[in-house]
């Protein structure tokens, strides 16, 4: 088994903020069923533009599910500008770390967040970065990984 931290296990077996928000202000979806991993993130903003609620649905491995839980906890109470700065590394740190082979599972969280924020701001979803598909899991491209690697 992967060497998961207790926090990963907890957020996997007892995930928080699972489900859907009625009339969300922003929705971000990444991954697909074909890839074996997918994350749908929904956020609701309060009057001050802070994220007052976040919910998710995830199809994926334990790290993906735990990362989604962590992500929703991290972003609650943040403004969109603040939330924009959240990285996958923060998600992993929140969980006490992820196995090296599973770091990319937290990337999905970062990407879903980025998409949800764009959606909340009324922007078009980003086309996925071009490049060779290196992670068959959910079609992460090498350019995307490079981008993430640089921020880590």
């Amino acid at each position: 088994m992967w060497e998961y931290t207790d926090k990963v296990k907890k957020y996997f077996t007892e995930p928080v903020n699972v489900g859907e928000i009625e009339k969300p202000d922003g929705v971000g979806e990444v991954g697909s069923l074909a890839c074996g991993d997918a994350l749908k993130l929904m956020i609701k903003l309060d009057d001050q533009g802070r994220i007052e609620d976040a919910k998710f649905q995830t199809f994926g491995c334990a790290s993906a599910i735990a990362s989604s839980s962590a992500l929703t906890e991290i972003i609650k109470g943040l403004t969109l500008d603040e939330a924009e700065k959240v990285t996958n590394k923060q998600i992993a740190d929140y969980l006490g770390g992820l196995p090296q082979e599973k770091m990319h599972c937290s990337v999905m969280g970062e990407q879903a967040l980025e998409a949800a924020i764009r959606n909340a701001r009324g922007l078009e979803p980003l086309p996925s970065l071009e490049g060779e598909v290196v992670c068959q899991c959910f079609g992460v491209t090498d350019k995307e990984i490079e981008k993430v690697a640089r921020t880590n």
Partner: protein
């Protein structure tokens, strides 16, 4: 973990039988001779190896001289393929299938990169081969046909004896990876045209680290591990006496347990499947008519295999998704993909593989908890909601 362990991952590796441990133990302590050396220690050791060789040979209907001890099933597979090519240098073609274990598949893919021609035969939705395809694939240039006896993920059994006849009649050698079949399917090599066969101890309740390559008398052979002349010059490296003794014992036990595998173990597997199929959107992968008695590959649509495994693991239940070998990454299993299992199902597939050590109580425990696990994961899954909303 707290919970007693329910081990349902015997196709990955199996518990070492207490009888096997007992048979091996003396050879760790008192005896530490080298089978090839001159002093009397060596002599005793040669005796026990002879006995083990006979025990293995008897299980598969072979002669003792046809048994070469190796370090694992993988090495046996690599050795067989390499030998067929090296001893027929003029032939450059191999026939195999898309659903082989990586020990054959990866090795053949490397060969293809090196310029050999390799035909990877497709399978149908049930995991079966089309014998017409097989026959057509074998040409005058074919050095080797390598087709597994039983699939490690689905348990589907291939008609290797018929395929061996085809190979023989076209002048090609036939190798079968029967790591999963040995001890579950009756094998009498003397009555077949199979030239080489691989088996692995740790699927038969020995520790991991011993295997066998059967090479029919008269079949040309070129060793893969070269050095000293152990195993009559066919496999160098000082012999792993304790494990070889253990494998002999394990083969004897396997012969005794074969009936039980095909009755009691099969009944447990069937009970498990019947119960699990009550879960919505679940299905068995692999032809139920041609399957090992102990194996069940079952898909739960719209959930992810690793998550299921972890929840099972929390309850002390060990199973695997795809094959253990590839579960490090989340690529759906190459076997299920070759069978055309839809993505929705391939990702959520679990392999349960039983052994004579399993009990009805254990199976009932799994049946009790599985519906809840699938429900919890489907509740999190975005696709399940979509499906239930739309469907």
């Amino acid at each position: 973990m707290g919970n007693p362990v329910i081990y349902l991952d015997n196709n990955a590796t199996s518990k070492t039988a207490p009888e096997v441990v007992e048979a091996m133990l003396p050879y760790f302590g008192e005896f530490y001779g080298n089978a090839s050396s001159m002093h009397s220690f060596g002599g005793m050791v040669a005796e026990v190896m002879k006995k083990a060789r006979k025990q293995v040979a008897d299980l598969i209907g072979a002669e003792p001289e046809e048994i070469i001890f190796t370090s694992c099933g993988t090495e046996s597979d690599n050795t067989a393929i390499n030998s067929a090519l090296m001893s027929n240098p003029s032939k450059r073609h191999i026939v195999t299938t898309r659903v082989e274990h990586p020990a054959v598949l990866n090795y053949c893919q490397n060969l293809a990169r090196q310029g050999y021609e390799v035909t990877f035969l497709p399978v149908d939705r049930q995991g079966n081969l089309d014998l017409g395809y097989v026959e057509n694939a074998i040409t005058d240039d074919t050095a080797l046909v390598s087709v597994m006896w039983a699939n490690n993920e689905t348990g589907v059994i291939f008609p290797v004896e018929e395929i061996a006849n085809m190979a023989r009649s076209k002048g090609a050698l036939m190798h079968t990876d029967s790591v999963q079949a040995v001890g579950k399917v009756p094998i009498n090599l003397a009555k077949t045209n199979i030239d080489m066969l691989s088996l692995s101890g740790h699927k038969l309740h020995t520790p991991k680290g011993v295997g066998v390559l059967y090479v029919r008398k008269g079949t040309p052979f070129v060793p893969y591990i070269n050095g000293g002349h152990q195993e009559h010059g066919r496999r160098a490296g000082t012999e792993n006496i304790p494990y070889i003794v253990g494998l002999g014992k394990a083969c004897e036990l396997a012969a005794q347990n074969m009936d039980e595998e095909n009755t009691r173990v099969k009944a447990l597997r069937d009970r498990l499947e019947k119960g699990l199929l009550k879960i919505q959107a679940s299905m068995i992968n692999g032809d139920p008519m041609h399957r090992l008695p102990n194996t069940s590959s079952i898909s739960f649509e719209y959930v992810e295999g690793e998550s299921i495994l972890l929840m099972l693991s929390d309850l002390g239940i060990c199973a695997s998704s795809g094959s253990a070998c590839t579960s490090g990454s989340l690529e759906p299993s190459h076997v299920l993909r070759a069978m055309g299992v839809p993505f929705t199902a391939a990702h959520g597939s679990i392999r349960f593989s039983l052994s004579v050590y399993n009990t009805e109580k254990e199976i009932d425990y799994v049946l009790e908890h599985m519906p809840g696990i699938i429900k919890r994961l489907r509740d999190i899954s975005p696709f399940w909601n979509q499906k239930t909303a739309t469907g």
